[in-house]
């Protein structure tokens, strides 16, 4: 199992290395052109592949199946991959509302009890 995962990852990195657009470094792609370079998002091939591997590893660690991971990573753009690799652990993940009531109740009780100020 472990071995299989490693080989999937290796294939993924290889795929990212050969599939990166554009083919050469001097050409300026549109995504690069329109992204605010507030944080230097590097788009060279190696770093692109590494960002892909990082995102893939995290998705797998979060329970996404290895078959799905490759397709999902391939669907993300260069910039999205670079940004996800940086921030995905703290990025919002919108989900179900099952635990909502309980969480609210606990927070409100704590708030009212003066344990802490929940409202900012």
């Amino acid at each position: 199992m472990r071995k299989q995962k490693t080989s999937v990852m290796a294939l993924l990195v290889a795929a990212l290395l050969v599939s990166t657009f554009p083919a050469h470094a001097g050409f300026v792609g549109t995504e690069q052109m329109v992204t605010e370079q507030t944080r230097a998002v590097s788009l060279n091939r190696i770093e692109h592949a590494l960002a892909g591997a990082e995102v893939a590893a995290q998705l797998e660690a979060w329970g996404v199946s290895s078959e799905q991971v490759a397709t999902r990573v391939a669907a993300l753009s260069d910039i999205e991959l670079a940004q996800l690799a940086d921030t995905m652990e703290t990025d919002p993940a919108g989900g179900v509302l099952v635990v909502l009531g309980v969480v609210f109740l606990v927070l409100i009780v704590l708030h009212v009890a003066g344990v802490f100020n929940a409202f900012r």
Partner: protein, 332 residues
């Protein structure tokens, strides 16, 4: 509460019809007259306008599996044949019990729709709904410190009652006060998107916003869709050099070098100091074996700004290696 007979089912009207225009202008008046005092303050004061996209489908989230219901809602409304179950494998992250924004964008693209990120104003939300488009948005139903992230779809609003109407979770029609809604949206950094066809930038779109939404198609090799999006862009913003450059880029990647040169030419005619256009034009000329033709463009260039110097030097280096040959092939 909403009165049934006041509700204008926008989706049942043709776009651009009189009724829609009336609603849209009423809406605009609402927004313009609304006093915006704080981020949470709603902008719907004193208006009598109501809209609801009644025909937007509803997919309930079930309690045990997080079906990407909100994403399915906007895609299906936009004519994509998809079910929440089919989207699970594209966006659901089991241990996070939810979906990441970046993956929602990617999944939208994988169905051939452009995920356009709306401006972070309530007005932008209202305009889209007024235009007949449901809005997929992120809410934080918890607190800033203890967020509870939730995706919902905005389908309507009632300016008089100061309420918004959402397809949300297990509720097909969730009515929420404007204040509470806008605060929950504010805590999620006002993230909202619409899913549109590549040929149809939203009425309120900006050129830069549209390029940011379309460019990932180019990066992931979906060149035909990128080309469609950029072509729609130059129709909408014909004076914007950035949009022309983007069109040139996708033509270059499609190996339509003459068309690329033409688009870069349009960009440079409007903004001679647009360095990416000039740089990529040189690449297009080299690609079709006309390196010699690049010379006048380079001589006229002057020197690039500091942050572009490295790229420009690489390009000049490449050109020097190729020599100043004339065209190998005649394409024009």
């Amino acid at each position: 509460m909403l009165q049934g007979d006041e509700v204008v089912p926008l989706g049942k009207l043709c776009r651009g019809s009189g009724a829609v225009k009336t609603v849209a202008s009423a809406l605009l008046a609402v927004v313009l007259s609304g006093c915006v005092t704080s981020p949470g303050q709603q902008e719907l004061l004193g208006a009598a306008s109501v809209a609801e996209l009644t025909e937007v489908p509803f997919f309930a989230q079930d309690e045990y599996q997080c079906r990407p219901a909100a994403l399915a809602t906007v895609l299906v409304h936009g004519g994509v044949a998809v079910t929440p179950e089919q989207l699970v494998s594209k966006v659901y992250v089991p241990d996070r019990k939810g979906s990441l924004q970046a993956e929602l964008l990617a999944a939208t693209r994988s169905h051939g729709r452009v995920p356009y990120r709306l401006a972070d104003s309530p007005r932008a939300l209202l305009e889209e709904v007024g235009d007949g488009r449901p809005v997929l948005l992120l809410q934080n139903l918890g607190f800033e410190r203890w967020p509870i992230w939730h995706y919902a779809v905005l389908i309507g609003f009632d300016a008089q009652e100061k309420t918004f109407v959402l397809r949300s979770g297990t509720e097909a029609r969730h009515t929420i006060s404007a204040n509470r809604f806008l605060n929950s949206w504010q805590r999620a950094e006002r993230w909202a998107i619409v899913a549109v066809s590549p040929s149809d930038p939203p009425a309120g779109a900006s050129a830069l916003g549209w390029l940011r939404a379309v460019a990932p198609f180019e990066s992931t090799g979906e060149l035909a869709i990128a080309a469609e999006g950029y072509a729609a862009g130059v129709q909408r913003w014909p004076e914007d050099p950035l949009v022309w450059t983007a069109l040139g880029n996708v033509r270059y990647l499609q190996e339509e070098f003459a068309k690329a040169e033409q688009a870069y030419g349009e960009a440079l005619a409007r903004a001679p100091d647009h360095w990416p256009a000039r740089n990529n034009l040189v690449w297009a000329l080299m690609a079709r074996g006309c390196a010699g033709l690049a010379r006048p463009w380079i001589d006229a260039a002057g020197s690039p700004p500091a942050d572009f110097a490295a790229t420009w030097n690489r390009t000049l280096g490449e050109l020097a290696e190729m020599g100043d040959g004339g065209c190998d092939t005649v394409q024009l």
